[in-house]
Every structure is written in structure tokens, then in C-alpha cells.
């Protein structure tokens, strides 16, 4: 069992990050090095500044708000929670004074970020089970949502246990010990990480997160990088 823990928590994390970083970078280089499309693809009427409107389209999804307001609510919550989640994870690596401008306990959100994400992901998933979105969906849409849900759910459970049930055998310091060692390429597994009652959750969380990172560059999640340039094309 310990070997499996070790493999998931150290070598697999390195592999996943390498695939994620290199894969994403290479794919972006390949896409952006292609010749530009001939002509203008703009939609009218035109509004200025084009970049600002493109950013508005990219980050606030006005077209979704107008057409599918309930989907918009979940999309907005999901994306905001996702950003907070990234901040939370960075704080599990080391302290960042910058993020403490709004003072909070690490991990932020008192357990509600994970809860929000879990609910949103279930909404996205169940939405795909019913017509007409079902007919548009392909297996990867389901796999991706299930994978994200599992990642978020196991990660959140540890947070919930700490915040709501005061079960904090794995402390913020243990996470920092583990994650910082990974970053400094001197990987080590603090005792609490591998021998807590929550170790299996952590291992599953990291296992699914690794799979997600590996899949990222080859999936539609690349919209994280492509949405802004695409919206800019539409704005002209």
C-alpha cells in the first residue's frame, strides 16, 4: 500500500505536471504558430474598446447569461470557485502575503469552495444526461466532469473534515512540508501525510488530479487559454 501511496504522491505528480506544462505549452505553440486566418471574422455592430469587450465576453459569459441564466449561475460560481481553489492550493505550498489582503484561514472558503464546485460539477454532469444536451455530448464530456468531481470531492472531504469536524490530523504545515518538498525537487512524505486516517482521501484526490492534469492539454479544457483570443476575433 505504501508503495502505491508513494507512486501516486511523488512520481505520478511529477509525470502529471510535466505532461501538463509541456503538453499545454507545445499545443499552444503549435496552435499559435499556425498561419492567421485570412480576413475578418468580426460580428457587428462593433464596440470599442475591442479588447475590453473581448475580456467581458471571456470572463462574464454574457451570451450564456442571456440564453441560459441558470447555467450561467453555475458556470460563474464554478469558475470563481476554481480560481479561489488555485489560490488555496498555492497557499498550501507556502505563505503568500498578497493573498492575505483579505485575511483568511488557509484553506480559504471555510469548506464552501469545494462544496460549490461539487454541486456545480454535479449540475454540469446531470445536465448532460438529459436531452437535448445529451445528444451533443461525447464520452469525454462525461469522463472529464466525473474526473473533476472525484478530484474535487476527495479534496473537499479533507477540507470539510478539518473545518467542520475538527479532524485535522493532516495540518496545513504537513501539506506545506509535502508540497514544498515537491517543488524544491527534494520530495519527501511527512509522517502525517501517509499515516493519517485521511491519507486514502489525499491519495485519491491527488491521483484524480494527476489524471486531470495529464488529460488537460488534450481536451476542451484548453478553452482556458483560447477563450480570450477567440472572443477577440469575434469583437474584431
Amino acid at each position: 500500500m505504501e508503495t502505491i501511496y508513494y507512486l501516486v504522491l511523488i512520481p505520478m505528480v511529477y509525470i502529471a505536471f510535466t505532461v501538463f506544462v509541456l503538453g499545454t505549452a507545445l499545443r499552444l505553440v503549435k496552435i499559435f504558430r499556425g498561419p492567421s486566418a485570412p480576413g475578418k471574422l468580426q460580428i457587428y455592430p462593433e464596440k470599442r474598446s475591442k479588447w475590453l469587450w473581448a475580456a467581458y465576453d471571456t470572463f462574464l459569459f454574457p451570451t450564456v447569461l442571456r440564453r441560459k441564466p441558470s447555467l450561467w449561475v453555475f458556470l460563474m460560481l464554478f469558475h470563481i470557485a476554481f480560481i479561489l481553489l488555485i489560490i488555496g492550493h498555492l497557499e498550501l505550498i507556502k505563505e503568500f502575503a498578497f493573498f492575505q489582503i483579505i485575511s483568511h484561514e488557509v484553506f480559504p472558503g471555510k469548506g464552501f469552495i469545494g462544496l460549490t464546485l461539487s454541486i456545480c460539477l454535479l449540475y454540469f454532469l446531470f445536465r448532460r444526461f438529459s436531452s437535448p444536451v445529451r445528444e451533443l455530448s461525447v464520452p469525454e464530456d462525461y469522463y472529464l466532469l466525473i474526473l473533476l468531481f472525484l478530484t474535487v470531492f476527495f479534496g473537499s472531504e479533507m477540507d470539510w473534515a478539518r473545518r467542520w469536524y475538527y479532524y485535522d490530523t493532516i495540518s496545513v504545515d504537513s501539506y506545506r512540508g509535502y508540497l514544498f518538498s515537491l517543488i524544491t525537487l527534494k520530495p519527501e512524505l511527512p509522517y502525517e501525510i501517509t499515516s493519517s486516517g485521511h491519507t486514502f482521501m489525499l491519495v485519491l484526490h491527488i491521483f484524480f488530479a494527476n489524471l486531470f492534469l495529464i488529460f488537460f492539454p488534450f481536451s476542451q479544457v484548453m478553452h482556458s487559454f483560447l477563450s480570450l483570443p477567440m472572443n477577440k476575433l469575434r469583437r474584431g
Binding site: 460580428i43 451570451t63 483560447l226
Partner: protein, 418 residues
Amino acid sequence: MEEKIRDDLLKLFQGRFNRVMRFYLETCTRCGVCMEACHVYASMGQIKYTAAYRHELVRRVYKKYFKARGRLWPSLGEAKELNENSLSELYDAAYSCTGCRRCMVFCPFGIDTQMVMSIAKLLLIGASMEPEILTMLADMSIEKGKSFELFKEGFLQGIRNLEAEVVKKWQTEAGTAAIPVDVRDADLLYVALAGAHSIIPAAAVFNAAGENWTLSFFEAVNFGAFMGDPARTALIMNRIVDEAKRLRVKEVCICECGTAFRVVKQLAGSLPFKVSSITEVHARYIREGRIKLDRSRYTDQITYHDPCQLARNGGVIDEPRYILEHLTDRFVEMSPEPRMNWCCGGGGGLVALGEETMDFRMKSSRVKADQIRDTGAATLVTACENCHTQLSNINDHYKLGLNVKFLSSMVAEGLIGN
């Protein structure tokens, strides 16, 4: 399908790759926000007529041959082999899409379905499965451009016959040709369609405005664009560009043809002359006081259909409204927002295919008919040949009892002082 044919088709596919096409092929999350955008889906209710479904068909072939996943785990994205079946699905997708780009307004990323469909159309050409009529029409246009000397005499005779009509209906100054052709250093080159209705009223307005203009030898319509064939599109467009350069004109004015306008204005890159639609030119004449229109001439309730290629995709939105303000007091808007206007259902070559597509065109334009009916107008105006034909067909089919008119003809009829 033979290996060799498939390889050739995949080369055609690959030839369409550019930065933007990759964006479009990589990004769709199949969120379904675009579903209600398509007039065909809204009218007929079949999922295969939604934007995401249409481009997913192209994307499935893309995943199969151009992504490692297609080989390692094809079922992940339902990667699909390129064969007769998938080509026939692509045919249904491409030739039921009018390229109106209404879905692009809905998509959170702004995926251009028309552009993705151009891959499908090109594959169909490669497999000789495209509608033959379009190829014939495109090749005829190209042939006419190549051996123009053969057609020249007949063309000029035709123009002289039309001139008589212009003079009869709208007096022009003695000594000036009513329809000037091949004038070097003219200010404006007018590119019309083959048909008196596209030339006579336009000539009347140019002459009334005292424009130093000349008529192009070539017709504006670009069947290559309908076919989705970049090579033929460029050949047909370049005849006009070359003529404009040869005559050293300052401006090229495209007649009421949405596709022709968009191809020259938006897709040709930078050109040494200005490109305008005739609607923009007419609005300019009114603004500059070069023509005056009789506002009491039309007393019916009038509504205007924004041709997709002209309005949403070409930016000519305020001008037709400005013109109509000078022609009537009884203008009523069709759509609260022009960029959301329903497509007439005739674009993308569907009208050019005539009777062959009539049944589909009528079924798929139910929402358009409802939209027109809701305005309560008695006259329906538009500024695109394709739209005009399709709207006339809708008018007959849905028994709307409207008078369907070209905006440019109304401007000519409303001229004061003639």
C-alpha cells in the same frame, strides 16, 4: 473508401488548418448554448441542425486523424472514420447551414460555424459529392473571367438595351452614357448581378447623384464562396479586384449581394481601394445631399430584413435604416437587435440550388415567416439578392401577402427631381 482518396481528402482537410481553425476545433465544450441560435433547429427541432452538432461532425474526423487520441482511444471523443457515411453526414450539415453566423453570437467562445463548415464543404468537393449546380455556376463565372473577350460584345449590347430603359424612366443629362462601362479613373466601380433589376435602379441613383462611375464587366455573386472552395472563391473575387486596379478606381461598390460584399470587404485582405455596399453608398448620397427622396411615396407599413452577410457579418446596419427614414414614416423593426435577426434561410448556396432545396428552405424558415408576420408590415424590404429570392418564396409558401422589395429599387423609385 479507397486509401488514396481518403489521403487526398485528409490533405484538403489539413490545408484548412490555420490558427483560428485550430481554436475552433479544439475548444467546443458542447455546452449547448448555441442550440436555439440556428433557424433550422428552431424551425424543425432536430438536434442535427444545431451549430455544435454540425461542427462536432467535422471535429470527429479531426480527432480521428489529427489527434493522437483518435488512435489511442477513439471512443473518448467518438472519433469517426472518414468514409461515405461520414461524408454524407457532412453533406447534411454543410448544406443545411446557411453560414449566417447567428450561432457565433450565442457561443461563449465565438466559434464560427460557417468557417468550420468550410472544411466539410471542401471535403465534399474533394469527394465530388458537392452540389453540381454550384460547381457549374462557379466554373462558368471563372470561365467568363478567363475568356472575357468572347463575352464582351454580347455584354455591351445588353447594356445598351438597358440604357434605353434607364433614360426612359429616369431622364439623364444628354450626352452622358446612362450606364458607363470600362471608364478609367472613375471614382466608383459598380459590381452588379446579371439582371436588369440589379443594374437599372442603381444606374438611376448613380446618375442622379452625379457619380463618376463605371459598371463592372463581371457579376458580383461568388459561387465559389457558396461551395466553400477557397481557390474558386479567390479566382472569382480577383476578377473584380483586377478590374478595379486596371481602371484605377477609388471605390468598389458591391450590389445587393451579401456574400459578394462580405467576400470582398472582409475576406480579401487589404486592397488599394475602398469597398462599399450599395446600401452604404446610397446612405452617403442622402447624407451629402446628393440625392433627395420622396418620403410620401410609400404609405404601407414597411419592415426591413437584415441580410446576415451585410449586417451581422458586414456591419451595414445603420445605413438601411437611415435610407428608410428618408423613404417612409411607417418603418417598423423586425428584430429588437439586428445581430440577432433570423437568417432568411437561403444563404450558403441554398437559394442558388433552386427547386432542389425548396422544400427544406421552406420548412427551415418557419421562424423567419413568424418573425415577418409579427411585424404586421405590408412591404418587406431587403438588400440582398439571395434574401430577396428566399423571402419571396417564404411570402408565397406561408401566404404572407407581402410586397417584397429591394432597398435599392425603392431608392431609385423614390428619387425626387426625376
